[in-house]
């Protein structure tokens, strides 16, 4: 059974203007997203800013209200939990935030920040036990017990992110929603945190939803990848397959835009024109059609649905079955076909 199942999730934010709080429009941040997480697996969620990936994360841990759709945790509907039931369920699902500089209270020591989580869920009987558990957690994430008495400003970015992870782990969750946990860190520190997340997964049997815009990091960590564009999933499948043989023109462009450090890997660049459109006023038909090099008349009117063209590989594109030359990874761009008009 899936640990987490999301069915047709919608999160809409009304835009309010003026005193009378009329809502002249809605931002459809998440507009019909479905996926599931098996216990112990890592699923990567990729997309550019404004695509709704962070909103999906926040909706999962119930930090923003769900407009429509259902979230099941271990078969139980948790979409409408509140009060004590919600708090009890949050012991199962925790979140690691992007910016370790703003997600820690500057006036609390590391020990207080982690201890607070233990107190809220009543996990430590007394102060000694609390201190012991905090020190154990700090050791788990590669810090020292003495770091408990430090303030966030005394720590480096990487150390702070370790504290953020320790705080999430304090309540012994099963599922960790990591929202861009390494994006704010230096290159050499990113690798440390990625390795730490992998070690913790092995030791504690954690399930991860790993959100990032860096495709290389996501491919490294994840078994499956979901690609979002403007509030919807446009491609989903095994990480290897999505990265080697992307089928959606957006995924192809995203992959070809990643600068590679190997100068011999000559790639034809597919550079997308324009910016992602605003989720306030999404274009009709396929939301990607204004930037898509392959767009046809049908794409401007008819919205494509996610379709399983190969077992386990889903793509929301009308042209997914259209014949295209094969693309061995590396030799040509994952979007080479798209650069010549179809």
């Amino acid at each position: 059974m899936a640990l987490l199942e999301v069915q047709n999730l919608h999160v809409h934010f009304p835009i309010r203007r003026g005193l009378l709080t009329r809502a002249p429009g809605t931002v459809k941040a998440v507009d019909g997203v479905s996926f599931s997480l098996a216990p112990g697996e890592t699923v990567g969620l990729v997309g550019e800013s404004g695509c709704g990936k962070t909103t999906v994360a926040r909706a999962l841990v119930r930090l923003v209200p769900v407009t429509k759709g259902r979230i099941f945790y271990a078969g139980r509907d948790v979409t409408a939990l509140n009060g004590a039931a919600l708090r009890a369920w949050r012991r199962q699902v925790q979140m690691v935030f992007q910016d370790p500089y703003s997600s820690l209270d500057p006036r609390m020591t590391v020990g207080q920040a982690i201890g607070e989580a233990l107190d809220i869920h009543g996990l430590a009987a007394n102060r000694t036990e609390r201190r012991e558990r905090v020190e154990k957690l700090l050791l788990d994430v590669g810090l020292e017990g003495s770091h408990a008495d430090r303030y966030p400003h005394e720590l480096s970015g990487g150390q702070r992110q370790r504290v953020g992870i320790a705080r999430a782990l304090a309540v012994e969750p099963k599922l960790l929603v990591c929202d861009e946990p390494v994006s704010a860190l230096d290159v050499s520190i990113q690798a440390q945190i990625v390795n730490l997340l992998q070690d913790l997964q092995r030791e504690h049997g954690l399930t991860y939803l790993f959100i990032a815009h860096d495709l290389a990091v996501v491919e490294h960590l994840s078994r499956r990848i979901l690609v979002m564009y403007l509030g919807r999933i446009v491609e989903a499948g095994e990480a290897r397959e999505v990265c080697r043989a992307p089928r959606h023109p957006y995924t192809q462009a995203l992959l070809s835009a990643v600068p590679g450090v190997d100068p011999d890997q000559k790639r034809t660049r597919l550079i997308l024109p324009g910016d992602p459109p605003s989720p306030l006023n999404p274009p009709p038909g396929c939301p990607f059609h204004p930037r898509c090099p392959l767009a046809e008349a049908r794409c401007r009117v008819e919205r494509p649905v996610l379709y399983e063209h190969t077992p386990g590989h889903f793509t929301a594109c009308h042209l997914v079955d259209a014949p295209r030359p094969p693309r061995p990874f590396g030799s040509t761009a994952p979007g080479a076909a798209a650069t010549s008009p179809a």
């Binding site: 550019e48 230096d186 690798a191 390795n195 490294h220 450090v261």
Partner: protein, 366 residues
Amino acid sequence: MIMGTVLFNATPVAGANRVWTRRFAGRPRGFRPSGSGHDMKLLEICDLQIGFRRDGAPPVPVVDGVSLTLEPGETLGLVGESGCGKSLTALAIARLLPSPPAQVLGGDIRLEGRSVLQMSGAELRRVRGRVVSYVFQEAGASLNPVMRVGAQLRECLRLHRPEAATDAEVLRLLRLVGIPAPETRARSYPHELSGGMQQRVMIALAIAPRPKLLVADEPTTALDVTIQAQIIELLRDLRRELGMSILLITHNLGLVGDLADRVAVMYAGQIVEAAPARELLKHPVHPYTRALLNSVPALGVRQERLPAIPGTVPPPGAWPGGCRFHPRCPRRQADCEATPPGLTELPGGRRARCLYAREILEEKAR
């Protein structure tokens, strides 16, 4: 560092330039002192030392003996992690260091053969924009929020190229940086533009005075990957069309491979390796460069674990003795703790600050 200081004392650069400035300050623009023929470098940084002053304490060094040169039309990538001193080096070129606390403690910076450190206010104003201009990471924070984009461009033209301060030139510049519908966009305020468009406006402002050197300090870090690819493509096109030099400051080694001819890698205030871009990415010599390249996951390459660099970047003021990378270095030897390595000249126009640079290079050749 010791070698650097000796070099600094031995070169009569600073004094010579002071005399030069006094003698030629009143000469018409375009005048060049004799002997500075066409082999002159566009930018020359010699043994630059920058420190942060604190009350009643000796200054903490943050940039320690950096030397760089840049030829006309060349692109140099300056790579390093936060706190390595790369941005301060870049700011010092046009004397834009936030001072206090930052201060140039030694060395020299020459633009077209003239020492920037000796320039008067009027001379600096002439150099800023027309010789060197900047693109910063967050365009949103660098643009004036209460001025229309077109007006900002026009103001910039009025200051640097008064004869070209026309609507037509403003539109031409906006078109040049790939802004669609420039007539409408010229009337927009910065907040009405997306991050990518703001960065394009920023680039238009930077190239409006026709600089010879564009310093791009993390120009794509705040942008999405597809927009990042657009901006890099734009910089590449502009370099070809305008023939300017680019100093690209970044932490992303992939970007360097895309754009730069040569690369210098900085660690703890020093250049640790400098080489032609391709060579550096294919065959890094310094253990830090190698570790940095290895710690970035590559698309399509499956590996169980990322080879992370242990420890953290030492902050200024806490740089270890000997080789500054030795506590994190996988191939450290006993003498690495004691002997600070100089920049070793290697074949192929490469330099590396490692006691074992030659050995590493030979190992590779085998």
